[in-house]
Symmetry: C2
Subunit: 145 residues, 2 copies
Amino acid sequence: MSHHRTAYEDILRAAGHRVTRQRIQILDAVCEGEGHTTLAAVYVRVRRHAPTIDLSTIYRTLRLFTSVGLVICTTSPFGEDLYEMANPIDHHYHLLCRRCGAQQEIAGSVLGALFAEIEAASGFEVDGDHLVIGGVCGACRARQP
Amino acid sequence: MSHHRTAYEDILRAAGHRVTRQRIQILDAVCEGEGHTTLAAVYVRVRRHAPTIDLSTIYRTLRLFTSVGLVICTTSPFGEDLYEMANPIDHHYHLLCRRCGAQQEIAGSVLGALFAEIEAASGFEVDGDHLVIGGVCGACRARQP
DNA sequence: TTCCTTGCAAAAAGTTTGCAACTGC
DNA sequence: GCAGTTGCAAACTTTTTGCAAGGAA
């Protein structure tokens, strides 16, 4: 569990929401994902400990977490929504392999500089904390170019 | 119509497919889009000239065009699939405003250099011709920061 | 004529909503 | 106890598929 219990409880309560068993389990499942996870993967993970939880609860809860800023939702270049624990300090981007699904982080500073440049040139402010770049990872390319 | 009739007909026939009225109309609709267009927008545009065309034909045809390389399909950061005429010569990327939907191109050379750097450092080959970056455009930011 | 393609209808997949029972506070 | 939350079922939306009639080569 990589989230601090008190911190997320405070965030929920401060926004007028309750801390329930299901919400704790869903947040744990997002943490377990380590990086970006799909809603379906969260569902499977939670069901291992709570076999009666409903998909609609996952939908509602992930939307809630996103709206209070506990979790970030990104659309991958392959069309899936990916969820990840929000971390306001450590900005970074992801490379996602379209063949094997492996994820790789790249430091925020690299792309961040470029985004600043784009903003200066065109006024366009990039959604920097929401970026997943698709492609093929080194291992898959070695296997089949 | 920005596509050359003979060129796309040859591409289709070479791959063993037929050139039909519907396919021409759908390709025209993608061209009219000027930049990235959604499937729904293509449907609406085609229906103006061919009121009986079915949505399933749009789905099937856009997939066909994508598979033979006539059209490129990209997933926007907001989860919609966007279609655009393939142009093997002019590589470029798009900035897409999440508030007003405005599109803006940025030259391929800017990001291309960065992608080459990423590839050199990590072996990860970026899907460069499939990239749409989300954010807020200058006009919208001026209106409401 | 041959076989690919289309329109229509139905099915499948993914997501949202209404509501009674339940539970955090 | 009150109000927010959950599980279940049903509704909705989006996408795919089966098939008979129509059309390109």
